[in-house]
Structure formats: C-alpha cells, structure tokens
Subunit: 134 residues, 3 copies
C-alpha cells in the first residue's frame, strides 16, 4: 500500500505545499503537530492550556478515526508547550478526556515559541491503526 493522505473536517488542512496533517503508511499514521487554531490570535488568547490541549486532541482523534482507527491505537505523543510549570497539570486533565487504559508513550518539553504568539501547546502523534487497545 502506498502512502495515503488522511484528512478530517475537524482538522483544517493548511494551504498547499505546507504539510499534511496526517499520512498513513504501512499501518502507521503520522500526525503533524496540531495546534488549537491557526491564524486566529484573538480567539487563541481566550484559550488556556486545557482548552488548547483539548482542541489538539480532538483534531488528533478526528485524524486517527479518519485513518480507520481509534484513540486506542495512539502509541506516542510529543507535547511542546510554552509554559511547562503552568501548563502541565492542565494538559494532564485534557489528556484524561481522550485516552483510557494504558496511556501513550509521551514526551513533554517547554520550547521558546510555537506557531504563533498565543499558541501555548502543539501536539504530534503516532498511531498503529487497528493495533489497540493499549
């Protein structure tokens, strides 16, 4: 099976020649770093880490499901945040609304900046479709 681009209405696609939100190959879904909103700083400013993380996970779920899987198939997430001291607990809370059982392998680090000044969190994921539950 060749590489397939996976799209979901919940995760708006970027303009052409930027990136794909999700590519599926050999049963593995590679999901780009998702952010809560692209290009709407005013709306982003009203969202804290909990809100933004929920938006990221909702997009990841939409993409994993469009690839034929479920959140149980996610094996790794990487979370890039701009304030790990403040954001950590809020992100744990959001995560519990999207995962059950054994949670994915994870990395979380504080970076200096993300896609836009009000973006507080970016989350990427790898899923092995149909291999869950964890």
């Amino acid at each position: 099976m060749p590489i397939r681009r996976i799209t979901s209405a919940i995760a708006p696609e970027p303009p052409p020649e930027r990136w794909s939100n999700c590519l599926l190959v050999d049963g593995i879904a590679y999901i780009s770093g998702m952010v809560a909103l692209m290009g709407d700083e005013a709306a982003l400013a009203a969202l804290d880490e909990y809100d933004q993380a929920k938006a990221c996970f909702a997009k990841i779920r939409g993409l994993v499901e469009a690839a034929g899987g479920t959140m149980d198939d996610v094996v790794k997430i990487s979370m890039f945040v701009t304030d790990i001291g403040n954001g950590g607990d809020k992100i744990w809370r959001a995560r519990r609304e999207f995962f059950t059982g054994n949670f994915p392998a994870s990395t979380m680090v504080e970076v200096r900046a993300l896609a836009s000044p009000k973006t507080l969190i970016e989350i990427e994921a790898v899923a092995h479709i149909g291999k869950g539950p964890r």
Copy 2:
C-alpha cells in the same frame, strides 16, 4: 499482536492516566522521554548532565530489555537539554557507556525547560526489537 505496555523496575511508572514508559507494537518499542529522577529536586540538583544522561539511558536499556531486545536495537534517540553548550560533551560521554557499533540516529536540541527545574536532560527512544546490531 496488539499493543503491549512494557515495564521495568529500573524505570518507575508514573501514576495512572499519565503516560506509559514504553509501548511495544509491530516489533517497535516507543519509549517515553525519560528523566533521571521524577519529583526529587534535591537529589536531581546533585546530578550534572553526565549523571542525568546515564540515568536516562539506564532506564531506556531496562525498558528495551524488558521488551525482549538490547541497546543494539535502538534506532533513534531524541535528546532535549537545557544547556547544550555545557551539556553536549557530557552527554556524549554517557552515551558511549551504553552504545557500541553504529550509534543510533539522534537529535539534540536545547529547550527552555523540562519536567522540573533541576531536570537537565530528557531522552526518548525508538527501538526495533531483535533487529540489531546496528
């Protein structure tokens, strides 16, 4: 084969509903970002990058072995450090105590902060179990 959670006594597990230290699926072990110590800032403060990196690699080795493999199966490591100028050489030194032959593909970047203020390094890994030596 479904996704399996892999544990090792050397790598303490987090509380439930946080993350899994290691998940194994399709022969690939995904290992979370490991840190030297979780939640013990006083003990961490006594450890430099060399010490902390050794602790991270020891946990990674414990998990890879629990998954049925060896350090020869590790194909990629990502190292997030808080002082790349000071820490780089110390981490090379630690790495040479855990890997032989062709070393894993690697990325090292300096981030602004990690899990706690005294955490100087976090290392994640991907291993293809039984496919070594490199």
Copy 3:
C-alpha cells in the same frame, strides 16, 4: 533484515561513537537531525534560514536516496528553529524546492539553541522507503 547504516557523501558523518546520520530497518529510514554545517561558525553566519534549510533538506535527500528511496517516501519531518517568527516563511520556501504532491507530516517549534550558536535550524526525518509518492 538487520539494521543498516546509510551514508551519503553529501552528509558528512560525525566522528565515531556520536550518532549515525541514517539507519534503515524494516523499510523505515530514521534520519538524524541535520544541520547546515558542523563546526564552521563563520560559514554558518553567512547563511539565513532559507540557506540552512536547503542544506538540511539536501542532506536528507542524499540519505533517503542512499537508502534506495526518494523524497516522495518521507512521511514525517521535525523542524527545530531558533527564530520561528523570522524563519518560518524562509523554511516554507526551501521546503517547496524539495517536496511535491502531499507534503510530509510536520512539526516546527522554536527552541532556545541548537548544535552551535549560528545554527538556525535542525531537521530530522522519517521515510518509508519505496512507499511514495505521497
């Protein structure tokens, strides 16, 4: 098939016991974080994000081709930059010179520092050899 180290003349190898630029296993090529130049700060200082990104992608292409694939097989890239506000557009431009069709899944974050002070961007990649085009 065991793990194979892949080399390319365009991507100089590090000294022994550091890292491998590319490892190939189970049809997946893991490519280390590439930087434009290693250890030549004067030359790096003359290169902006566009130039440096092009150098990174040229190395990635050299390695993917040495592994038996093409840039169409790249499914994920991670870009670590030191100035996302200034560098973003320049990196999009460089990327369009190396990819066509559906672009790879991508993550871009601003870190505090990279391998050397004048290094502005580091890019790692994962490719499923022979599975393109995307």
